[in-house]
Protein backbone atom coordinates (compact mmCIF):
# COMPACT_ATOMS: atom_id res chain seq x y z
CA UNK A 1 0.00 0.00 0.00
CA UNK A 2 1.27 3.49 -0.83
CA UNK A 3 1.89 5.68 2.17
CA UNK A 4 0.85 9.30 1.61
CA UNK A 5 3.47 11.41 3.35
CA UNK A 6 3.01 15.12 3.92
CA UNK A 7 6.64 15.86 3.17
CA UNK A 8 8.07 15.10 -0.25
CA UNK A 9 10.62 12.34 -0.86
CA UNK A 10 13.98 13.77 -1.97
CA UNK A 11 14.90 10.78 -4.15
CA UNK A 12 11.51 10.87 -5.86
CA UNK A 13 11.98 14.60 -6.45
CA UNK A 14 15.22 13.91 -8.33
CA UNK A 15 13.48 11.14 -10.30
CA UNK A 16 10.54 13.41 -11.20
CA UNK A 17 12.91 16.12 -12.38
CA UNK A 18 14.70 13.59 -14.61
CA UNK A 19 11.41 12.34 -16.05
CA UNK A 20 10.11 15.83 -16.79
CA UNK A 21 13.28 17.59 -17.91
CA UNK A 22 15.63 14.89 -19.17
CA UNK A 23 18.78 13.30 -17.73
CA UNK A 24 21.37 15.63 -19.25
CA UNK A 25 19.54 18.83 -18.30
CA UNK A 26 18.99 17.77 -14.69
CA UNK A 27 22.53 16.48 -14.14
CA UNK A 28 23.92 19.77 -15.51
CA UNK A 29 21.47 21.81 -13.39
CA UNK A 30 22.24 19.96 -10.17
CA UNK A 31 26.01 19.95 -10.78
CA UNK A 32 26.03 23.68 -11.59
CA UNK A 33 24.01 24.41 -8.47
CA UNK A 34 26.38 22.41 -6.26
CA UNK A 35 29.69 23.54 -7.70
CA UNK A 36 28.97 27.07 -8.94
CA UNK A 37 27.02 28.22 -5.87
CA UNK A 38 29.56 26.47 -3.63
CA UNK A 39 32.53 28.06 -5.42
CA UNK A 40 31.05 31.58 -5.27
CA UNK A 41 30.19 31.25 -1.57
CA UNK A 42 33.66 29.91 -0.73
CA UNK A 43 35.22 32.80 -2.66
CA UNK A 44 33.16 35.19 -0.55
CA UNK A 45 34.19 33.58 2.73
CA UNK A 46 37.86 33.64 1.71
CA UNK A 47 37.58 37.23 0.51
CA UNK A 48 38.52 40.35 2.40
CA UNK A 49 34.99 41.75 2.77
CA UNK A 50 33.12 40.11 5.64
CA UNK A 51 30.30 42.61 6.03
CA UNK A 52 26.96 41.18 7.28
CA UNK A 53 25.49 41.69 3.80
CA UNK A 54 28.23 39.60 2.17
CA UNK A 55 28.07 36.92 4.87
CA UNK A 56 24.26 36.60 4.55
CA UNK A 57 24.34 36.34 0.74
CA UNK A 58 27.39 34.04 0.85
CA UNK A 59 25.65 31.78 3.37
CA UNK A 60 22.53 31.76 1.23
CA UNK A 61 24.46 30.49 -1.80
CA UNK A 62 26.30 27.95 0.37
CA UNK A 63 23.13 26.42 1.78
CA UNK A 64 21.52 26.30 -1.69
CA UNK A 65 24.64 24.48 -2.89
CA UNK A 66 24.51 22.02 0.04
CA UNK A 67 20.77 21.46 -0.50
CA UNK A 68 21.48 20.40 -4.08
CA UNK A 69 24.10 17.80 -3.00
CA UNK A 70 21.58 15.00 -2.17
CA UNK A 71 19.63 15.77 -5.34
CA UNK A 72 22.80 15.44 -7.42
CA UNK A 73 23.77 12.17 -5.70
CA UNK A 74 20.27 10.73 -6.15
CA UNK A 75 20.16 11.85 -9.78
CA UNK A 76 23.48 10.09 -10.49
CA UNK A 77 22.22 6.93 -8.78
CA UNK A 78 18.89 7.02 -10.66
CA UNK A 79 20.60 7.58 -14.01
CA UNK A 80 23.00 4.72 -13.29
CA UNK A 81 20.09 2.35 -12.58
CA UNK A 82 17.89 3.89 -15.32
CA UNK A 83 15.05 3.78 -12.81
CA UNK A 84 13.52 7.26 -13.02
CA UNK A 85 10.15 6.25 -14.53
CA UNK A 86 9.82 3.19 -12.31
CA UNK A 87 10.54 5.08 -9.06
CA UNK A 88 7.83 7.69 -9.65
CA UNK A 89 5.26 5.61 -11.52
CA UNK A 90 2.63 6.22 -8.83
CA UNK A 91 3.28 9.97 -8.65
CA UNK A 92 3.08 10.26 -12.44
CA UNK A 93 -0.28 8.48 -12.43
CA UNK A 94 -1.56 10.92 -9.78
CA UNK A 95 0.05 14.06 -11.14
CA UNK A 96 -2.84 16.27 -10.02
CA UNK A 97 -2.19 15.33 -6.41
CA UNK A 98 1.60 15.48 -6.42
CA UNK A 99 2.46 18.26 -8.89
CA UNK A 100 1.67 21.21 -6.64
CA UNK A 101 3.07 19.50 -3.55
CA UNK A 102 6.41 18.66 -5.14
CA UNK A 103 6.78 22.07 -6.82
CA UNK A 104 6.17 24.21 -3.72
CA UNK A 105 7.92 21.99 -1.18
CA UNK A 106 10.99 21.53 -3.39
CA UNK A 107 11.45 25.31 -3.66
CA UNK A 108 10.94 25.81 0.08
CA UNK A 109 13.38 23.02 0.92
CA UNK A 110 16.01 24.27 -1.54
CA UNK A 111 15.93 27.83 -0.23
CA UNK A 112 15.76 27.05 3.50
CA UNK A 113 19.09 26.55 5.27
CA UNK A 114 20.17 22.90 4.90
CA UNK A 115 16.54 21.74 4.77
CA UNK A 116 16.86 19.46 1.72
CA UNK A 117 20.15 18.02 2.95
CA UNK A 118 18.78 17.20 6.41
CA UNK A 119 15.55 15.77 4.98
CA UNK A 120 17.53 13.53 2.62
CA UNK A 121 19.71 12.27 5.47
CA UNK A 122 16.62 11.63 7.63
CA UNK A 123 14.79 9.78 4.82
CA UNK A 124 17.87 7.72 4.04
CA UNK A 125 18.23 6.72 7.71
CA UNK A 126 14.52 5.87 7.87
CA UNK A 127 14.81 3.74 4.75
CA UNK A 128 17.83 1.87 6.07
CA UNK A 129 16.19 1.23 9.46
CA UNK A 130 13.21 -0.33 7.67
CA UNK A 131 15.37 -2.58 5.50
Amino acid sequence: MIKHNTVINVRKLAALDIVFHGTKFILIEFALAVFLCGAVSLLIFHGVNHSPFMVILGSFLLWVSLNYVPLLLYAISIVKHKSAQREVAYELEHKDRYAGKYTLQSIILLLMPLAMLLLAVYQELQKRSHQ
Binding site: H21, C37, L61, A99, G100, T103, L104, I107, I108, M112
Partner: protein, 231 residues
Protein backbone atom coordinates in the same frame (compact mmCIF):
# COMPACT_ATOMS: atom_id res chain seq x y z
CA UNK B 1 10.64 -2.68 -17.45
CA UNK B 2 10.38 1.07 -17.35
CA UNK B 3 11.34 2.83 -20.54
CA UNK B 4 14.69 4.59 -20.34
CA UNK B 5 13.93 8.26 -19.92
CA UNK B 6 17.04 9.18 -21.92
CA UNK B 7 15.22 8.12 -25.04
CA UNK B 8 12.26 10.43 -24.52
CA UNK B 9 12.15 13.73 -26.36
CA UNK B 10 11.66 16.26 -23.62
CA UNK B 11 11.07 19.98 -23.89
CA UNK B 12 13.26 21.29 -21.10
CA UNK B 13 11.94 24.82 -21.32
CA UNK B 14 8.43 23.77 -20.42
CA UNK B 15 7.27 23.73 -16.84
CA UNK B 16 5.19 20.57 -16.45
CA UNK B 17 3.35 21.98 -13.48
CA UNK B 18 2.34 25.28 -15.06
CA UNK B 19 -1.19 25.82 -16.12
CA UNK B 20 -1.01 27.16 -19.65
CA UNK B 21 -4.75 27.16 -19.82
CA UNK B 22 -5.27 29.35 -16.79
CA UNK B 23 -8.40 31.37 -17.41
CA UNK B 24 -7.88 34.91 -18.62
CA UNK B 25 -9.54 37.12 -16.08
CA UNK B 26 -11.49 40.12 -17.35
CA UNK B 27 -9.79 43.42 -16.50
CA UNK B 28 -11.12 44.86 -13.26
CA UNK B 29 -11.54 48.56 -12.50
CA UNK B 30 -8.84 49.90 -10.15
CA UNK B 31 -11.40 50.33 -7.33
CA UNK B 32 -12.59 46.75 -7.70
CA UNK B 33 -8.99 45.54 -7.91
CA UNK B 34 -8.10 47.39 -4.67
CA UNK B 35 -11.06 45.78 -2.86
CA UNK B 36 -9.92 42.34 -4.00
CA UNK B 37 -6.30 42.85 -2.94
CA UNK B 38 -6.50 41.69 0.73
CA UNK B 39 -8.12 38.43 -0.37
CA UNK B 40 -5.48 37.94 -3.06
CA UNK B 41 -2.66 38.62 -0.58
CA UNK B 42 -4.15 36.06 1.80
CA UNK B 43 -4.58 33.39 -0.86
CA UNK B 44 -1.10 33.88 -2.33
CA UNK B 45 0.57 33.82 1.10
CA UNK B 46 -1.34 30.89 2.55
CA UNK B 47 -1.91 28.67 -0.48
CA UNK B 48 0.78 29.53 -3.04
CA UNK B 49 1.01 27.46 -6.22
CA UNK B 50 1.97 27.85 -9.84
CA UNK B 51 -1.70 27.59 -10.80
CA UNK B 52 -2.66 30.32 -8.30
CA UNK B 53 -0.09 32.75 -9.73
CA UNK B 54 -1.06 31.79 -13.29
CA UNK B 55 -4.63 32.81 -12.44
CA UNK B 56 -3.60 36.02 -10.68
CA UNK B 57 -1.34 37.25 -13.50
CA UNK B 58 -4.42 37.72 -15.69
CA UNK B 59 -5.53 40.57 -13.39
CA UNK B 60 -2.35 42.60 -13.89
CA UNK B 61 -2.70 46.28 -14.76
CA UNK B 62 -0.42 49.28 -14.26
CA UNK B 63 -3.13 51.05 -12.22
CA UNK B 64 -3.17 48.48 -9.45
CA UNK B 65 0.62 48.10 -9.61
CA UNK B 66 1.11 51.83 -8.92
CA UNK B 67 -1.55 51.81 -6.17
CA UNK B 68 0.38 49.03 -4.39
CA UNK B 69 3.82 50.59 -4.92
CA UNK B 70 2.73 54.01 -3.64
CA UNK B 71 0.85 52.46 -0.68
CA UNK B 72 3.88 50.33 0.17
CA UNK B 73 6.18 53.37 0.05
CA UNK B 74 3.86 55.39 2.34
CA UNK B 75 3.37 52.53 4.84
CA UNK B 76 7.15 51.86 4.89
CA UNK B 77 7.84 55.55 5.49
CA UNK B 78 5.33 55.67 8.36
CA UNK B 79 6.83 52.53 9.92
CA UNK B 80 10.29 54.05 9.50
CA UNK B 81 9.15 57.13 11.45
CA UNK B 82 7.69 54.86 14.17
CA UNK B 83 11.02 53.02 14.22
CA UNK B 84 12.89 56.30 14.72
CA UNK B 85 10.56 57.15 17.62
CA UNK B 86 11.50 53.86 19.30
CA UNK B 87 15.21 54.08 18.48
CA UNK B 88 16.29 57.56 17.30
CA UNK B 89 19.06 57.66 14.67
CA UNK B 90 22.55 58.05 16.13
CA UNK B 91 23.91 61.37 14.89
CA UNK B 92 26.24 62.11 17.80
CA UNK B 93 29.39 61.54 15.74
CA UNK B 94 28.60 64.35 13.28
CA UNK B 95 26.58 66.66 15.55
CA UNK B 96 28.14 70.07 16.11
CA UNK B 97 29.63 70.28 12.61
CA UNK B 98 28.74 73.62 10.98
CA UNK B 99 26.89 74.60 14.15
CA UNK B 100 23.95 72.21 13.60
CA UNK B 101 22.35 71.10 16.87
CA UNK B 102 21.90 67.33 17.51
CA UNK B 103 18.09 67.63 17.50
CA UNK B 104 18.13 69.52 14.18
CA UNK B 105 20.50 66.93 12.70
CA UNK B 106 18.18 64.15 13.90
CA UNK B 107 15.18 65.81 12.22
CA UNK B 108 17.14 66.26 8.97
CA UNK B 109 18.18 62.58 9.08
CA UNK B 110 14.60 61.40 9.66
CA UNK B 111 13.18 63.58 6.85
CA UNK B 112 15.90 62.47 4.43
CA UNK B 113 15.42 58.78 5.23
CA UNK B 114 11.63 59.06 4.90
CA UNK B 115 11.88 60.92 1.56
CA UNK B 116 14.38 58.35 0.27
CA UNK B 117 12.02 55.59 1.42
CA UNK B 118 9.14 57.15 -0.52
CA UNK B 119 11.18 57.43 -3.72
CA UNK B 120 13.37 54.34 -3.52
CA UNK B 121 10.65 51.81 -2.63
CA UNK B 122 8.91 51.94 -6.05
CA UNK B 123 12.14 52.67 -7.96
CA UNK B 124 14.05 49.74 -6.44
CA UNK B 125 11.08 47.39 -6.88
CA UNK B 126 10.74 48.27 -10.59
CA UNK B 127 14.50 48.30 -11.26
CA UNK B 128 15.17 44.96 -9.54
CA UNK B 129 12.10 43.55 -11.29
CA UNK B 130 13.51 44.77 -14.62
CA UNK B 131 16.84 43.03 -14.11
CA UNK B 132 15.15 39.79 -13.07
CA UNK B 133 12.76 40.09 -16.00
CA UNK B 134 15.67 40.33 -18.46
CA UNK B 135 17.34 37.27 -16.92
CA UNK B 136 14.02 35.37 -17.05
CA UNK B 137 13.66 36.29 -20.75
CA UNK B 138 17.22 35.10 -21.36
CA UNK B 139 16.16 31.73 -19.92
CA UNK B 140 13.21 31.58 -22.33
CA UNK B 141 10.61 33.26 -20.11
CA UNK B 142 7.38 34.09 -21.88
CA UNK B 143 5.63 36.42 -19.43
CA UNK B 144 5.42 40.21 -19.53
CA UNK B 145 7.16 42.70 -17.24
CA UNK B 146 3.76 43.90 -15.97
CA UNK B 147 2.65 40.36 -15.05
CA UNK B 148 5.90 39.71 -13.23
CA UNK B 149 5.79 42.96 -11.24
CA UNK B 150 2.11 42.46 -10.41
CA UNK B 151 2.49 38.89 -9.14
CA UNK B 152 5.61 39.86 -7.17
CA UNK B 153 3.68 42.66 -5.46
CA UNK B 154 0.95 40.24 -4.35
CA UNK B 155 3.33 38.73 -1.79
CA UNK B 156 6.01 41.45 -1.75
CA UNK B 157 3.72 44.12 -0.28
CA UNK B 158 2.46 42.15 2.76
CA UNK B 159 5.84 40.52 3.44
CA UNK B 160 7.81 43.78 3.22
CA UNK B 161 5.31 45.42 5.60
CA UNK B 162 5.61 42.43 7.94
CA UNK B 163 9.39 42.71 7.80
CA UNK B 164 9.20 46.42 8.72
CA UNK B 165 6.85 45.60 11.60
CA UNK B 166 9.25 42.93 12.88
CA UNK B 167 12.07 45.48 12.66
CA UNK B 168 10.26 47.43 15.39
CA UNK B 169 10.84 44.59 17.89
CA UNK B 170 14.25 45.62 19.21
CA UNK B 171 15.17 42.32 20.87
CA UNK B 172 15.00 40.35 17.61
CA UNK B 173 15.58 43.08 15.01
CA UNK B 174 18.93 41.58 13.94
CA UNK B 175 17.42 38.37 12.53
CA UNK B 176 13.61 38.19 12.70
CA UNK B 177 12.90 40.74 9.91
CA UNK B 178 14.85 38.51 7.46
CA UNK B 179 12.45 35.57 7.84
CA UNK B 180 9.66 37.11 5.70
CA UNK B 181 12.29 37.75 3.01
CA UNK B 182 13.15 34.04 2.92
CA UNK B 183 9.49 33.24 2.26
CA UNK B 184 9.55 36.08 -0.27
CA UNK B 185 12.26 34.22 -2.21
CA UNK B 186 10.22 30.99 -2.23
CA UNK B 187 7.12 32.77 -3.52
CA UNK B 188 9.20 34.69 -6.06
CA UNK B 189 10.47 31.44 -7.60
CA UNK B 190 6.91 30.03 -7.76
CA UNK B 191 5.64 33.26 -9.35
CA UNK B 192 8.44 33.20 -11.95
CA UNK B 193 7.48 29.63 -12.85
CA UNK B 194 3.89 30.74 -13.37
CA UNK B 195 4.48 34.04 -15.17
CA UNK B 196 7.32 32.92 -17.45
CA UNK B 197 6.44 29.22 -17.62
CA UNK B 198 9.92 28.26 -16.48
CA UNK B 199 11.07 25.05 -14.82
CA UNK B 200 12.02 25.19 -11.12
CA UNK B 201 15.73 25.05 -11.97
CA UNK B 202 15.54 27.97 -14.40
CA UNK B 203 13.41 30.04 -12.01
CA UNK B 204 15.97 29.41 -9.25
CA UNK B 205 18.75 30.41 -11.65
CA UNK B 206 16.96 33.71 -12.35
CA UNK B 207 17.06 34.36 -8.60
CA UNK B 208 20.60 33.08 -7.89
CA UNK B 209 22.49 34.54 -10.86
CA UNK B 210 22.10 38.23 -9.84
CA UNK B 211 22.99 37.32 -6.23
CA UNK B 212 26.17 35.56 -7.43
CA UNK B 213 27.09 38.43 -9.78
CA UNK B 214 26.45 41.01 -7.04
CA UNK B 215 28.65 39.09 -4.60
CA UNK B 216 31.46 38.74 -7.13
CA UNK B 217 31.25 42.44 -8.05
CA UNK B 218 31.49 43.46 -4.37
CA UNK B 219 34.38 41.03 -3.90
CA UNK B 220 36.27 42.32 -6.96
CA UNK B 221 35.54 45.91 -5.91
CA UNK B 222 36.86 45.31 -2.38
CA UNK B 223 40.02 43.60 -3.66
CA UNK B 224 40.64 46.44 -6.16
CA UNK B 225 40.12 49.07 -3.45
CA UNK B 226 42.48 47.22 -1.10
CA UNK B 227 45.19 47.10 -3.80
CA UNK B 228 44.72 50.82 -4.60
CA UNK B 229 44.90 51.79 -0.91
CA UNK B 230 48.05 49.66 -0.38
CA UNK B 231 49.80 51.44 -3.26
Amino acid sequence: MAKDVDQRPIDTSHNPYSDDNAPNVAQLSTGQAIRELPGQYFKVLTRPSVTRFAKEKGKASWGIVWVQLVSLAIIDAILQIVGFQILPPNTSSIAGINGISPSMLQSITIITVVLLQLVLTPVSFLAAGGILYLIARAFGGRGTYLEQIYTTLLFGVPLVILSFLLQLIQATSSWLPYLPHLYNLVLFVVSLMAVHQLSRGKALAVLLIPIGILLLLVLVGTITLTIIVQH
